[in-house]
Symmetry: C2
Amino acid sequence: MAKKVKDILAMAKHPVVNGSLWLESEDKRFFGPGPVELLERIAETGSIRQAAKEMRMSYKKAWELINNLNAHTIKPAVIPQTGGEKGGGSVLTPEALELIQYHRELRKRFKEFLEKETGKLGQ
Amino acid sequence: MAKKVKDILAMAKHPVVNGSLWLESEDKRFFGPGPVELLERIAETGSIRQAAKEMRMSYKKAWELINNLNAHTIKPAVIPQTGGEKGGGSVLTPEALELIQYHRELRKRFKEFLEKETGKLGQ
DNA sequence: TTTCGTTATTTCTTTAAAGAAACAACGAAA
DNA sequence: TTTCGTTGTTTCTTTAAAGAAATAACGAAA
């Protein structure tokens, strides 16, 4: 390139390359940042409702994300239990925990990619 | 990982890692896939309106994208001319052409990243 | 049997994004 | 001076996403 990209751009703070990643199948995404954080919080709280509340997400949307995710996994990612001592709750399957771990590693590699690209803006 | 990620997921066609990239400043994105394609079509057609029409984008949205982009560059990316032989038109500055070229190269590297990550799903 | 809070689901309302339509200003060419 | 299609801008309408609220079913524990 003739000029540095950052010399074309003018802004108070330096520009960065940012982005988003997800898993998709047949052009439909089913596992992105939203579901990941939701699963992590369900693992902590044991409840879809509480996890959604922490994320300021409506229960309906949380349920939809989970339902969509379950439709894409051989075994469901979340096992719900209605009724019981505390009214019920939800637990994650080992497969869901593995998906979380996978996404953490994926995010790490993506972060490195983005930082490398942001560095190139000023070269 | 204990299991292959693809063995956790169940779908007709294989899952892929996909994503989106953009340039942002102070948490506001100003140069992503939409503006890039718009610029490319303005370069071809010499007209914001025609470029937008080809993308089935409203003129208003096209103008907003361009206006937002111009606000982030030292020199405007698009030079409009109202009136004239054909009613007017718009041309890209050399800086805009460089931004387009930069984004092409960025996309290429991102594509490689995504393909590598998709490959890892089945390992 | 009663109580509890959660899951699952529907319906309604609100909000935000997008689009449609209309119109003045513009300036080169005829 | 008239014509032309575009730019720039406003206002209104439509559409889509999101959220709010209400409610039945559930089952362990007291």
